[in-house]
Symmetry: C2
Subunit: 412 residues, 2 copies
């Protein structure tokens, strides 16, 4: 969430509107960049990307293929800053980081807020991580090392350490003056946290409330005491659910003793919600943590795992069918009807499973309503099963001119 | 995103922490509420829910079954306000709205911000909608009717109309004074929009920037000129992608002539991202727009549709198998091996389809990289297909003691 200086009006590069079409890079623009790259025209590349938002530069790096990507990264030079790298897709980021020296990386990381810096560093192997950390200024390094002590995917990893805090006996005027005077403060924040002498959060002030209040009012009279506190060890998926449920913009993160140690802001949560939904979808489809940027090698491996499990379950079906080999030899219609039974059974199961998995992910399914939901699914299964049995059974009886077969097939 | 008054310290009801366990209602708490309901003890119910956040009251209404729900809604009385209804799951909300009179509904809707009011009213049938609108104060009514003229699921439906705007020649001090003096202004906002004399947005000021700047500085010197403008007709899914991509907190909505007509804030976008991901998952599983709160009747109907399509495709497979009935009668092993071929083919297809569908939903797949992605999927299919063919073929040859069968089965 860092600030981008407005472009000076005399730059020549195309603006975002000329480059984007319904949120995606125009094909013609990508072609222009590739043409400039292929003729080694670094200046043209730099002019083309000049006015782009870091997120769009990240898209550009993702969209070109691996061969052009190396050249593009070379040509981007200083435009490839921390903000661009923080926006990159995980798979592509890994590739880009491999091309940077530890010293380059340290420069990139130093510009970022702690949470983005941690997101980049946590994917490096231990040795590279140490080397980059050594090249970072001590103060920033301590913050990053501290964040890395929290478990993967916990609130402690995604929080920012720069929090604006005030004591409750201050007035609104004192808060505004202190904000104006302290040059080291974060530039972007949405809420101010009120803390007690032990640095425990006791209230929140939204900036809009403070701006609408006259200077003499006490902080304790503007603040909202109801707060959603996030323990630093909380899983990021739970953090995202809290933000959704209570419509939070930012939330204070506390350590085990209740002291305020950081803040999580909603822009980071947007990414988490999208990533967690992506993870759920991909795992339901047995495609690992894939997306289209996953390299062939990793995609083969992650999908293979699920296909092999599938092979084993399919072999189980085959063994069952094998036990009835003699019957099938006498009555081939059984083999003909098999796919209908397995397809419908499989799909009805997938429907119920998906609804249940999502309800768990969204915290909708709990001990308090589990029995009711199971009973609902039983009813749905009964009605759909009955209707399809009549349909498939009737069709079978007509087709084979044998009412008994229809009846048996209908019963499944 | 409305403000909740802090509870007075002398209330007796349990606090959120006592009621919730990892974000879900404790089973014991729900049991307490049900016990009070069953003994017609309205006062106890009111005391129990006294300190709950509207989102938690909505959860409580969702979690009890249909029979208790009517009684609960009666017992909640004034606690069942617009904020609670806005938080309800779509299916449950429909049920609750049926229990309220148009006059009650008008009261509820009047308390809400336009976007939440529209979300509730748009689901009513035309007649009820008119009746509720008639009972709402004219000013509010015009805003709601205006919102309803925008297409379903467009930015115009989800935006708020209360926008804080200032001209660029004002100073920071003038802005702060006007915020303090205007009692009609929205309480919760995160950014102020700078407009030209035609009311077109020309810049954005984050409140934190304004608080950190001295009073004499001009608005035009604090504002950021780079903005992401949202046309009112834009689909809400595209709006959500813009928020994610550019880490926005709020964004100005413009009409066809470029005038500022509203603002969309990130808390509404959180819900959209979650809902759209839910929709994608459910449609991939052929379960319609389901969730666990969908009534049995609707669930049967929406899932049946997909199961019938499935029945038809399964019949196609059966017809193909039927064409080889004589061969199968001679060689039953073919019938035994069938599920392996169909299971692996189906699952590998699902993996590729899911990756592609998600990439389209997240704006990652475009004309610029389509060829590369297709080529990647072909390679993955080749390697996984070859490996599984060797595995399944080898196992078949060993099992049936017939290398030729293994070879043919391996070839698929």
């Amino acid at each position: 969430m860092s600030e981008h200086a407005p472009p000076s009006p005399d730059t020549e590069g195309p603006t975002s509107e000329e480059v984007l079409e319904s949120g995606r890079l125009r094909r013609a623009f990508v072609a222009d960049v590739l043409a400039a790259l292929h003729s080694d025209d670094t200046d043209s590349v730099q002019t083309l990307v000049e006015q782009l938002h870091p997120a769009d530069i990240a898209d550009l790096i993702e969209v070109v293929d691996a061969a052009d990507r190396d050249a593009l990264i070379g040509a981007l030079g200083a435009k490839l800053d921390g903000d661009v790298i923080a926006e990159l897709n995980d798979w592509v980021r890994e590739e880009v980081l491999r091309l940077l020296t530890p010293a380059d990386l340290a420069d990139v990381v130093t510009d970022l807020e702690t949470d983005d810096a941690v997101a980049i560093l946590q994917d490096l192997d231990a040795e590279d991580q140490q080397e980059v950390l050594k090249a970072i200024a001590p103060e920033e390094r301590v913050a990053i090392e501290d964040a890395l002590t929290y478990p993967d995917d916990s609130a402690g990893r995604i929080m920012q350490r720069d929090v604006v805090t005030v004591p409750e006996y201050w007035t609104v005027g004192q808060v505004i003056d202190s904000l104006r005077e302290d040059p080291d403060l974060a530039t972007d924040f949405w809420e101010i946290f009120v803390v007690d002498p032990q640095h425990r959060p006791i209230g929140t002030i939204r900036l809009s409330w403070m701006l609408r209040t006259i200077r003499s009012v006490l902080v304790s009279d503007v603040m909202q005491r109801e707060q959603t506190l996030i323990p630093a060890a909380m899983d990021r998926e739970d953090v995202a659910l809290r933000f959704q449920k209570y419509a939070l913009i930012s939330a204070p993160v506390i350590d085990a003793s209740g002291r305020l140690v950081g803040v999580i802001t909603v822009d980071d949560v947007l990414h988490i919600i999208a990533e967690e939904a992506q993870e759920d979808i991909m795992r339901l489809a047995g495609a690992g943590d894939a997306d289209i940027n996953e390299p062939v090698r990793d995609a083969v491996r992650s999908r293979m795992r699920w296909l092999v499990i599938n092979l084993c379950t399919a072999v189980l079906s085959s063994i069952v069918i094998g036990a009835f080999a003699d019957t099938i030899a006498h009555l081939v219609a059984l083999a003909i009807l098999m796919p209908i039974v397995s397809a419908l059974g499989g799909n009805a199961g997938t429907q119920t499973m998906t609804v249940a998995v999502r309800a768990l992910a969204l915290n909708q399914l709990s001990a308090a309503n589990a029995a009711r939901i199971v009973w609902k699914e039983v009813q749905v299964a009964f009605w759909n099963g009955s209707a399809l049995a009549v349909l498939a059974g009737g069709a079978t009886a007509l087709y084979f001119h044998n009412p008994c077969w229809g009846w048996c097939s209908g019963l499944r």
